[in-house]
Amino acid sequence: MDAIQAGKRAKTALPTPRLTVPLLTAGFLVVIGVTASWRQGDDAIRLALAVANNQAKLQALSEIERDVRESESNARGYIITGNQAFADQQHQANQELQATFKRASQLLHDSPSQAASIETLNNAISSKQALIQSSIALRKQGNIAAAKEIVNWPSIEAMRQLQTILDHLQGQSNNQLEANKRKLNQASLWARSLEFVTGAGLLGLLISSGLMYQHQSKTIQAATKLIGESESLFRSLFEQAAMGRALRSMQGECQANQAYISMLGYSQRELTSMDAKALIIPEDLDQWECAKADLLAKKLIAARLSLRYKHKFGSHLWIEESLQLLRNSDGEPIQWISTILDISKQKRLEAERRELALYTRSLIEANPDTMINIKQDGTIQDVNEAMVMATGMERKQLVGQDFSSYFSDPEKARMGYQKVFADGYVKDYGLQMRHRSGSLIDVLFNARIFRNETGVVAGIIAVARDISERKRLERELNNLNESLEKRVTERTAELKAANEELEAFSYSVSHDLRAPLRAVDGFSRKVMLAYGDKLDQEGLRLLGVVRQNAVRMGKLIDDLLAFSRLGRREMHFVAVSMQDLAESSATELIELEPGRQINFSCEAIAPCQGDPAMLKEVWMNLLSNAIKFTRHNNPAQIHVGSRIEGESTIYWIQDNGAGFDMAYADKLFGVFQRLHSQEEFEGSGVGLALSQRIIHRHHGRIWGESQIGQGATFSFTLPLQRLSPSLGDHP
């Protein structure tokens, strides 16, 4: 990161100047300038030579004129004076003229037009000289007049002709000179321009080079700085990286960072002398070697490996390794760079995750209920084995298919999953699943949406329970219920009839049976009253027995009726003070036995929930029994109490009476069942049966414990929690 930023910084600080165009332009100018100057130089020299030639020509031509005039004037001097000196000077002038002409003719050869005039000039000079010579010769002869004649006119004419030729040649040479001077001037102007261009080009080159040099040096500076920074960065990255990193030369020298060392447990020194192969477990060595070979063969730039390293202490580490081969600029390998990351934890987590996934999958597969994962569009994403079994289709056939197509009512199935997407779930959604064979299975769907990690609804997990068996049972149960109901109705009708019959019977018993008994008793009494004096003692006793039995039968009938009525009686559950009931019953009963000493004691006994009238009957029955069976014990001891055991209260009545044989304990509570003779203890045998029935209707139990002659304890339980009264059972 830092290296990248450093690079960016260098780039923005030193933008490469756009110097190419100016450089090329300047170079071009220099080349053009130099080339042109070269050529221009030649021209200038040539022109300068021409100018010099022209000037020499003009010089020579004027010298010819001067020499001719010198010769003539000396000739004239001689002619006039006859002085030999003039003749000598003329001769000398003549000599000079010859030399001058020779020089001039050489000079004039450069111009073809003038070369042609050389002969003419020579002729003119020769003819002039001839005239002068002839005049001199005449003078010498002394013919002064002739000599003067020649000198006056022909010589002047010859001089004029020569003058004309010289003028012409001088004019030509002057023209040439002027032309060459102009050309030379032009050439020099060009040369200056070229010099300027070349100079400008050179200046441009100089400036560009300067700029480039400056830029280059700045770039080099920045690069140097960057290299420094990146090296220190690399160093710190290398050293402080969380990833282990080792640089290994081709000779095997190893340089490892701290992470590498602490990851594998070997010291830097140990590593240096170790073969890298020794760090890797043999099973994974192959892939490492292959990677190295590929890197050496340049098949790869970098290799990424997942293999197991050996820690110094023997444990295996899952390592993710990035292996690189560093090469120099010639492509020669110089060192291995191995970067390793300990992924043992990830591997372990991965393994755990795989195991968990496998476990979860097993759960899904083991589920006997059909499980389906449905996408938003209703296609199946995943199923379990139960679904495969339920449809008879292969798993891969199911996945991707429309969910609703496996049901007898696809529209309802579709509505089902749409409802899940709308409400988030469905509960016990009934459908019929279709097996490939065409058979239908009744199922109940429970489905719920599920979300992916980001909370987006990813689909539905639907679980269907095969309820065909339940349905069958339900139908069976319904049938049974129906028949049962019918039977119940029938039975109820029967029972009702029986009940009505029983009622009529009870009615008859209460009414019709008692009337005759009353008659038996009443008329026996009437006999005693009307005919008592006519009967002896035995006769009266016998009538008494008749009457006694009639009354007893009346009592039996009354008790029996009470017992039968009890089953039909409605119960009124209220809070009942058992203490009050027990004490008031005892008081009432003891009052009926004025001659006896009865010690009644009552502990503080627990209240209950029940029908007070019925419970009073229980107390009355049990206490009257206690009083009755303690008749022969003086004083009678009757003790009442209660205790709580588990969910119920136990009430008990203990006496010191006759007791009973436990062998017959099961007969105690039967109707008309008695364990004592009528002579010993009178009674109808209904009281305990009645008490049991009442206790049962209160969801309690009743029992008796005794030994003959040791008194008896009767106990009954009542539930602590209030229960609804049980319906009356019919006798």
Partner: protein
């Protein structure tokens, strides 16, 4: 006492002759035996109360002793008729029966009986209660329209 005796009656509606005899024995002890008119079933009672000369009969009735279990028309039906008719509705009716059934007691009261007595099986008790009821209703109780 004499005036009452010549005019007013106990109407005993009872099918069982033994009970009827015992009842009359008891009433005899209250010296009411000559005032008893014994009808043996419900139909006779209806005829007596609502038939010809019913008005004359009704005029003389001071108390009706009504058994419930009666042939032809039962006691509760007779009671219902008595309470439904204007001329009989205020007559004191005492149910004297062997039935101890709560349902009978309730229905009798619902239909407007003035009293409900269960005949004891025991002779002495029976004589005692009938004697006392005779005295009470015939001598102590005041009915509407009586001068005394």
């Amino acid at each position: 006492m004499t005036a009452i005796a010549t005019e007013m009656q106990v109407l005993l509606i009872e099918d069982n002759p033994a009970d009827a005899e015992l009842t009359m024995d008891a009433l005899r002890e209250s010296h009411l035996e000559n005032r008893v008119l014994w009808l043996k079933d419900g139909a006779q009672a209806i005829d007596h109360l609502f038939g010809e000369e019913a008005a004359i009969h009704i005029q003389r009735i001071k108390l009706i002793l009504l058994d419930l279990q009666l042939p032809r028309v039962n006691g509760l039906e007779v009671l219902r008729r008595i309470r439904n008719e204007t001329q009989t509705r205020r007559l004191p009716v005492v149910i004297l029966t062997s039935s101890q059934e709560e349902s009978d007691v309730i229905r009798a009261y619902d239909l407007g009986t003035n009293s409900y007595l269960v005949k004891p099986v025991d002779y002495d008790s029976f004589i005692t209660i009938v004697k006392e009821l005779g005295l009470y209703w015939m001598l102590l109780n005041k009915s509407p329209g009586e001068s005394k």
